[in-house]
Subunit: 408 residues, 2 copies
């Protein structure tokens, strides 16, 4: 029997596999004999209001575990809450630690991206300061794949698989018409182009793939863009272009801001982007006199659990499970990382890493993987990405639709 | 051995199962001993330029047949070509019949929607006029489900399944945030709301479904809309609204036209719509001061073959196959129709019907199935629609992505 309870939370934008990590934490903690495994409602924000659930009341058996693995979005709810620094509000920390004391929490797991790792960093550092023995572990999660140190992040593979699959279908759809057209597909990724780059996976024996790919890592230029589209159009009836929502001009402005689209800022100061594809489709239509269409993958990139990567699901589960093992072994202030030892056959090693060296660092697509004057990605990228989308996990279909586990 | 050859074409907007009908025609014709089964490239438009392929060169074995069933969009390519009337251009008819004579065509199959049935009607009537023995059969296909007489159309079930599945995931995604939001999801359907109504299928034990559904059958009014959204917002944190791309104001204008979005007209005089969801999301954001997002399902509704309805695939195949049987039995100027004899257990009868009584008539959602002051659909609709989305056909996955059969 392990002394003390577990609390686990989910934070930031959800993914198709974030619940697999939750299940990984839950099952490992349960198997280790932890008495109570609490789930935070809406992450640290809900936890500050003592909004927790007893996970065992919702995940009652092996079927529930399998169903939760197939459930997209954050089962416990999420938040975009920036934990203030100790200097800004020590009261917040005192409150959090008092809630943990009250619930006899000894192990704290947070499944999330960069901002969540910032939370783990702050909490573990504060625990050290006050001599608390509560252990804080980060479980990586983000479709953006922009976390430092780890080879990749759970959530990325499934989003990449969705993007490449949907793009294959869209390309087949546009190619069925004999008329000229340009289709601009908008893909998520604020500053890192990992997801947009995954569009290249759709190029295969049975699919030409996108003709041009624009990542946020490369400064966008309207004139150059137009020339590049024109050049492809000379050779092809249907042109398909993948663009990141976050492409920026030389002056630092987002292309979508030219669309005068309302932009929101979240509490981390991130702008909510949108409108890039529609704007560029209009731009091409107006300048090249060709039928053009903007397609936005939108939130389905992160929630299309009906077509996930089996490998991603498995690794997400493992990340949660390993975080529990590490915490039980006395580790704290760490995040689970993957280190790739081989592409073919694919192999990774799962270990832990100091969260202080991970939090708040954004990993972008390396320059040398961006080719063709900033309009495509290299075979090295494909060799890196392809193993991450392998395998399927069949949804549980009820009445013709995927079934999910729900909390309330 | 059957005397004379077969030609088959695909027309109009593609679907996820249009190639199943193609396979149905191909297999039935081959099994009957037809020597040559020609496929028109890009429908009647390509056929007028004698662009045909020998289907047997591409569909070589049973595996190809299964792969083609899993391939979205029109394998042979499509067109939006309006066949002129005989009065307008008898030369066109003479050209078509001379090409058919040259290729020794005795059986002509056209897979499509209303406009394609208009083509079958004109050609079969002309054949009768000139005493030709060539038989013309229509195979129904449209995600819009707007063809008269038939209970439903192949293509609709799979599109409905995609819409309901994706919507379940989107609803789960928006509900994970503790903050207020309104999401407007735009669904295809110019004048008929069958697809938008299918959004209601997502309401189940594990999903609240959309809160409001706006069909093109009901005149849209901004003020009433705002009041209806406000009323839901009082009760719920996340509001999800399904709207048809084709909703219209009392003055007959499309809502999306208010967006001053470029609209295209095809050769049938149909306007290409878009922008409804984004416009309404902005409208709500501006009027209710709430975070709002527009999501457009776009062409994935008609090409997401990775999540099709097995029943739809089977029926699409059957429609193609039965068209061949009917033509071989001497029928012409007919379309395949489905008549439902029972909902539970689901049962249909497949037969033929005079295309003159089908072409150019649009079937819309009946008034009595539209409830809640024009904001939802009834249980009768659900009982009608649910059987059509049942069952799955697993894609053939290669390197983590669905594989398709391709022509060139």
């Amino acid at each position: 029997m392990v002394k003390g309870n577990v609390v686990v939370g989910q934070s930031g934008g959800p993914t198709s596999v974030i619940n697999s990590s939750l299940v990984g934490v839950f099952k490992a903690a349960k198997d280790a004999g932890v008495e109570k495994i609490y789930g935070m409602r809406n992450g640290i924000e809900g936890f500050l209001n003592k909004k927790v659930v007893d996970m065992s009341e919702y995940v009652k058996n092996e079927l529930d575990i399998e169903l939760l693995k197939r459930t997209p979005s954050s089962f416990l709810g999420t938040c975009r809450f920036k934990l203030p620094s100790v200097e800004e509000s020590e009261a917040t920390y005192k409150l959090l630690f008092s809630i943990m004391e009250e619930l006899d929490i000894k192990y704290f797991f947070y499944i999330g991206g960069n901002d969540s790792m910032d939370t783990i960093k702050k909490l573990s550092n504060y625990a050290e300061e006050i001599g608390s023995d509560i252990r804080f572990m980060g479980v990586p999660k983000t479709i953006d794949n922009d976390l430092a140190v780890t080879d990749h992040t759970p959530g990325y593979g499934s989003a990449a698989k969705y993007i490449a699959s949907a793009l294959k279908e869209i390309i087949r759809d546009v190619n069925t018409y004999p008329t000229e057209s340009v289709t601009v597909v908008e893909i998520m990724g604020r500053n890192a182009g990992w997801l947009t780059a995954a569009a290249a996976l759709s190029r295969a024996e049975d699919c030409p793939g996108p003709d041009l790919i624009y990542l946020p890592e490369v400064t966008f230029d309207y004139d150059r863009f137009l020339e590049q589209v024109k050049a492809v159009k000379k050779k092809k009836t249907s042109v398909v272009i993948a663009v990141s929502e976050g492409i920026k001009l030389a002056n630092g402005e987002y292309v979508c801001e030219d669309n005068k689209q309302a932009t929101f800022e979240d509490s981390f100061g991130h702008k909510s982007l949108g409108g890039t594809a529609l704007y560029l489709a209009d731009f091409i239509g107006a300048n090249l006199g060709v039928k053009s269409r903007g397609i936005v993958f939108s939130t389905l990139q992160r929630c299309a659990s009906h077509i996930v990567s089996r490998r991603d699901i498995t690794e997400a589960f493992m990340a949660g499970s390993e975080a529990v093992q590490a915490a039980l072994n006395g580790e704290t202030g760490k995040m689970i990382i993957f280190t790739r030892t081989s592409n073919e056959p694919y192999n990774i090693i799962c270990s832990t890493y100091d969260v202080n060296k991970i939090a708040n660092i954004e990993k972008v697509v390396p320059d040398e993987w961006i080719i063709n004057d900033g309009t495509y990605v290299s075979d090295e990228f494909l060799a890196y990405c392809r193993p991450l989308i392998i395998g399927e996990l069949t949804p549980f279909m009820v009445d013709g639709l995927p079934r999910h586990l729900f909390l309330d």
